[in-house]
């Protein structure tokens, strides 16, 4: 999602838009210790850091504990339907590309019931940022397995071990054409904020999957779990690490270079599937290619002149102004 506001800020907003101002009056009702707090803070900070005018931010969320996030940010917030946030948000952005569109929701919301939209949003590459709160459970309905819960696991909220294989959100996103794919961690405020900001600056469909501990239902992936060191090839290493630090670079420099694109894509798949023991934070893949909003102009050249929402259709007296002559064409007898 790139910031393409109509008018450039008259004065820098930085001072006036401290993250605190982005808090709405509504107090979050999440459980103590929930990872959702950190993600919400980071979203507010990223908006502030990028100086996105909040009245121009259209923030969509799904339904779940995570889905409530839109209520806590002081901007145009839309708490949509379970699994449908990407459909709503694409509709809004395509209608009004001048908006800064951010989307957030749970892993059940996005990868479960929303899987169909998730797949097709990748194909369109509409310019927006999608933040998934990945806690491996359906929080708000009391802890059933979400699509990211590994098979055989039994968090305390389940009656029996899980019988279904997990989804791999990164491989899925890469297969579906997402142009920015990253992971961060709810308790790593700095990395999270920076990653969200990078996603928002990316022009195209960006996915940020955030490890979000749910202390109430998921006793397997807790803060202490993520803090643990693991042994890889005999030596202890942190479980959660920055891929960048270990030399990984997922950014395609020249999207017209087929070889580079392919190499980067394969490197990303490789990285994605090397997450058994450890979890890499950072950008798995990023490429710059035309967005849907750009591409649609090929077929509707008038959109080079007008933003869709600004296409005129009435005068000041509210008389419709569209001349139907061309539309009737040879149907006039």
């Amino acid at each position: 999602m790139a910031t393409n506001l109509q008018a450039p800020p008259v004065a820098p907003l930085a001072e006036k838009l401290k993250p605190m101002k982005l808090k709405s009056d509504k107090h979050p009702d999440w459980c103590p210790g929930c990872g959702d707090f950190g993600i919400t803070n980071a979203i507010q900070q990223a908006i502030s850091n990028l100086q996105l005018p909040p009245w121009n931010v259209h923030f969509f969320t799904g339904v779940g504990c995570s889905g409530k996030t839109s209520h806590y940010v002081q901007c145009y917030g839309v708490h949509t339907l379970h699994g449908r946030s990407l459909a709503f948000s694409q509709g809004a952005k395509v209608a009004n590309p001048k908006l800064n569109v951010i989307v957030a929701g749970g892993d059940g919301d996005g990868y479960g019931i929303g899987a169909g939209h998730f797949v097709h949003a990748g194909r369109r590459n509409v310019d927006m940022t999608y933040v998934v709160f990945d806690n491996e459970v359906y929080g708000l309905t009391k802890g059933q397995a979400s699509p990211t819960l590994p098979e055989g696991d039994k968090p305390k909220s389940l009656a029996a071990p899980h019988v279904v294989q997990p989804i791999n959100p990164f491989a899925l996103a890469l297969a579906c054409g997402y142009t920015f794919i990253a992971r961060s961690y709810a308790y790593d405020a700095k990395h999270l904020r920076a990653t969200l900001a990078a996603a928002m600056e990316h022009k195209g469909m960006a996915l940020v999957d955030v490890l979000q501990p749910c202390p109430t239902y998921n006793d397997l992936r807790t803060k202490s779990f993520f803090d643990e060191e693991v042994t890889v090839k005999g030596s202890p290493v942190p479980r959660v690490y920055y891929m960048e630090d270990e030399g990984y670079d997922g950014v395609v420099k020249d999207s017209t270079d087929a070889t580079e694109v392919n190499d980067k894509r394969m490197a990303a798949f490789n990285k994605i599937y090397q997450q058994e023991e450890r979890t890499g934070l950072g950008v798995y893949y990023k490429i710059d290619i035309p967005t849907y909003e750009d591409r649609v102009k090929r077929n509707l050249p008038i959109l080079n002149e007008y933003s869709p929402i600004d296409l005129p259709y009435h005068d000041a007296d509210m008389n419709p102004t569209t001349d139907l002559t061309a539309g009737k064409g040879s149907m006039v007898i």
């Binding site: 004065a11 005018p53 949509t80 459909a87 209608a95 569209t322 149907m331 006039v332």
Partner: protein, 616 residues
């Protein structure tokens, strides 16, 4: 019997072999010649090979329905001849190809019917030789031959076809005009020399005052809907392909200059929710679908209802249930549309009854949606979408755009007054008429929240009973307002004499056959009928409808469904039980003849229920 003012022609054949093109040619030719035409299209859910047919009625008078008996049937395959032969009126005619069928194979073919063997292949061969063309490439011209021969039989001058062809083949394709005319001339001349040519007496008189060129439209309902949306300023139509809704989208895709973004979605859940998202921005947006897709929109329509979003849904009704009769028509989604979505929320449900209303409703629905800030469901059907008809130009005078109560920001320079720009706005303010000021993202000072949960005036989730009640009541008050404000004509209308013997209550496309039937009923059967045509179903104009029904001598409903949905709805809304009911559930439209027949059964024989079933 020369000097007819109306004829009824049919052409049929396997899908994908040009039945549509020939009907289009005939429709256009007759329209050019000044007639009023009405074309009915019937086809299978199949791409190539299955039987389809097109029925064209041409008349000196404005007509808006089909008739049953055919005077001339043009065929070049066996199935059309055997399926429809029995529908030919006594002394009518059949054009056929003796290579594919013999008249004796046609069950029910009246002995008085004149049969014309048309040597399609020979004519094509001749044209091919004369023009040095590949005969295989000319096969499609069989249609032109059938039309030309039909014109000769009807006594319509051939030059009208040339003009019609010019309208069809424009630009690069213009060279096809002389080629087609060559075949047409041969067929036209040839049939005049055939045995029986003079026996066929269904000649139609030329129109005395041919309407001025450019003064009318020859159009189907899907296009009329598309044009209404364009005029209304709708610049985004989402869809997931489905028959027959997709016809509107296909039309819009051919009009890129208007900038309507026709967004193909991954499914109807996306289509509807994208419209919700787009409508939130202030864009006028709509989705077009049919039954199965409409089912998938139920949840999202409810969200638009509680969030007071002006989303517009076109559900082009087709034969149900389930996949049903996907290319046939039915009026069977009424009760579902009115009750769609769990829980309760206000929705406006309207259904156009003819081409003009298709245009008008497609324009007005956005005004309704924005004025009452609630989803609007429009229910055309396959018959309206696919029928082709000559109509006057739409009445574009007096159309107004009504965007409803939109918030006016007071903050001038948001960067200067950041505090003000970030202020919270009461999007769901509890007002007397239920309508609250709608702010749009991007507007400084308009920040609010939306949620499918019950919410406060600024849009935050609440479970507080008193707020719930205030919001629930406020939302429903908008329907009272709508019922007061929507012009009565667009709620319901009584056509015909007030003091009729029988009042027929109908909706949607049944208007056409009823209006065509009424004069004949009186003239030929001495029955004075009127038509109470309903266009607004939610909110329901109970008072006005009841007043008319109570004054009626006799009442009957006429609908293309099984359970008499409007009949039931009226009883629910008014307590009034309409006396008799007519239904049809074959997926085929009710014709003028059937309307007459049904009314006679009710009035003359006091039939409680009439089940219609004509047509293939």
């Amino acid at each position: 019997m020369s000097g007819l003012t109306e004829i009824n022609w049919m052409i049929g054949g396997p899908q994908g072999t040009g039945v549509d093109s020939s009907a289009t040619l005939f429709l256009r030719t007759m329209a050019v010649a000044g007639y009023h035409v009405f074309g009915k299209r019937e086809y299978h859910s199949n791409i190539k090979g299955k039987h389809s047919y097109f029925n064209v009625r041409a008349s000196h008078q404005f007509v808006q329905s089909s008739r049953d008996p055919i005077d001339l049937l043009a065929t070049f395959d066996k199935e059309t001849a055997t399926t429809h032969g029995h529908e030919i009126i006594p002394n009518g005619a059949l054009i056929y190809d003796e290579k594919v069928v013999k008249p004796e194979d046609i069950e029910g073919l009246d002995a008085s019917v004149t049969t014309f063997i048309l040597p399609f292949d020979d004519i094509l061969q001749e044209v091919a030789e004369e023009t040095d063309s590949n005969p295989m490439k000319l096969v499609i011209m069989k249609n032109t031959i059938a039309v030309a021969a039909s014109m000769a039989l009807y006594g319509v001058e051939l030059h009208h076809m040339e003009e019609a062809l010019k309208g069809i083949f424009e630009g690069k394709k213009a060279k096809l005009v002389p080629l087609n005319m060559k075949a047409a001339e041969k067929a036209y001349a040839m049939i005049q020399t055939m045995d029986g040519f003079d026996k066929f007496t269904f000649k139609i008189d030329p129109v005395a005052n041919v309407p001025e060129k450019g003064s009318r439209l020859l159009m189907n309902g899907a296009t009329a809907c598309g044009l209404g949306k364009i005029k209304a300023g709708c610049r985004m139509v989402t869809y997931y392909s489905i028959t027959p809704a997709v016809d509107e989208c296909i039309y819009l895709e051919t009009q890129p200059h208007y900038g309507v973004n026709v967004v193909q979605c991954e499914d109807e859940l996306a289509a509807m929710n994208m419209v919700n998202g787009a409508a939130l921005t202030g864009m006028r947006a709509s989705t077009a679908t049919s039954g199965p897709g409409f089912c998938l929109m139920a949840e999202a329509i409810g969200w638009a209802g509680i969030c007071e979003v002006p989303s517009v849904i076109f559900n082009y009704q087709r034969g149900g249930p389930s996949t049903g009769l996907p290319t046939r028509s039915e009026q069977a989604d009424l009760m579902f549309a009115i009750n769609v979505g769990h829980g309760e929320f206000p929705k406006i449900v309207i259904a156009p009854g003819d081409m003009e209303q298709c245009f008008e409703d497609s324009f007005e629905c956005f005004n309704l949606a924005e004025r009452y800030q609630t989803p609007v469901i429009v229910l055309p059907d396959k018959v309206l979408a696919n029928n082709t008809q000559t109509i006057p130009h739409f009445n574009e005078e007096g159309l107004k755009i009504d965007r409803g109560f939109i918030f006016e920001p007071t903050v001038k320079d948001p960067y200067d007054d950041v505090e003000g720009a970030m202020a919270t706005h009461k999007r769901f303010e509890v007002t007397e008429d239920g309508v609250s000021p709608r702010s749009l993202p991007g507007q400084p000072g308009g920040i609010h929240w939306l949620t499918g949960d019950e919410h406060t005036e600024i849009g935050h989730i609440t479970e507080e009973p008193s707020i719930r009640m205030a919001q629930h009541e406020k939302r429903f008050r908008k329907l009272d307002k709508a019922l007061q404000e929507i012009p009565q004509d667009r709620q319901y209308k009584l056509y015909g004499p007030e003091d009729a013997d029988v009042t027929v209550v109908a909706w949607g496309c049944t208007k056409g056959p009823m209006l065509d039937a009424m004069p004949l009923l009186e003239k030929e059967h001495g029955i004075k009928a009127n038509l109470l045509h309903i266009r607004l179903f939610s909110p329901f104009p109970a008072e006005g409808v009841l007043k008319i029904l109570e004054k009626s001598k006799q009442t009957m409903s006429m609908e293309a469904n099984f359970t008499s949905q409007l009949h039931r709805l009226i009883r629910m809304e008014t307590g009034f039980t309409i006396g008799h009911r007519v239904v049809k559930y074959t997926g085929r439209p009710i014709s003028q003849d059937e309307a007459i027949d049904a009314i006679r059964q009710v009035v003359e024989q006091n039939a409680e229920k009439v089940v219609l079933s004509y047509g293939h």
